[in-house]
Amino acid sequence: MKIEKIIPLLKAKIVCGERRINDEICNVFSSDLMSDVLTLDSENILLLTGLANVQTIRTAEMAEIHYIVFVRNKKATEEIIQLAEEHEMVILESPFSMFKASGILYANGLNPLF
């Protein structure tokens, strides 16, 4: 599924990475625990998280994750956006809870990792 289709499904706002709006996503992982994210072997996934800080972006950078949705109205700070842009990441902000956002994406055919 393309990022541009995910945006309306999650009533999300894109805060950086607009030029990658046509990128295709197959797998989604939902977690607030960066320790868990760092154990993933898969790449090119969409990360749903309620943890909006610089270490979320650093974790994504190391784990080769380029697509992040901040759920339950968590906002990306200027520092987060700057770091995410440096690494060509797409950041979305959604008002939905992690559970709701995950459920919508699952119901629309995106795959879980486990």
Binding site: D32, L33, M34, S35, D36, V37, L38, T39, E43, L51, N53, V54, Q55, T56, R58, T59, E61, M62, A63, E64
Partner: protein, 137 residues
């Protein structure tokens, strides 16, 4: 052979990850296999976060040889009382502040072991910890 050195400040979660990020850039420039780069920087980042989370200060040295990357992380801090326990998934002595940052789940050292070809940990309680990892390619 290329050598990189970084200073890590204990408790500084604003800059934690800088050493791993800089190392990743260099390894990419050297055209090292992407899977090796990922293994290296994930383990290095876990180590950096451990220093930021637990130690007072630390030094990271990364050496890139012909077919191996070696990372040496040396910190001054409280050390690890029981290394065998620290190697178990789920064992953690991290503070609430560290947990709020998304870490402290007791998966750092086990994940470093999973990603490195060799992991050696030496620690003296009250003095500090030295972690040596190597990654073959």
């Amino acid at each position: 052979m290329i050598e990189l050195k970084f200073h890590i400040s204990g408790g500084d979660f604003d800059t934690a990850g800088t050493a791993s990020s800089e190392t990743k850039k260099i390894l990419k420039q050297l055209n090292i296999d992407s899977k090796v780069i990922k293994r290296t920087v994930v383990a290095l980042y876990e180590g950096e976060v451990n220093i930021a989370a637990h130690a007072w200060k630390g030094e990271v040295a990364v050496t890139v040889k012909d077919h191996q990357i070696v990372a040496l992380l040396k910190d001054e801090g409280p050390g690890i009382a029981d290394i065998n326990m620290a190697m178990l998934e789920g064992f953690s002595t991290a503070s609430p502040k560290v947990r709020e940052m998304g870490f402290g789940a007791g998966m750092g050292l086990p994940n470093m072991k999973k990603n490195a070809d060799l992991l050696e940990v030496e620690s003296t309680p009250g003095v500090g910890t030295t972690v040596r990892m190597s990654f073959d390619f």
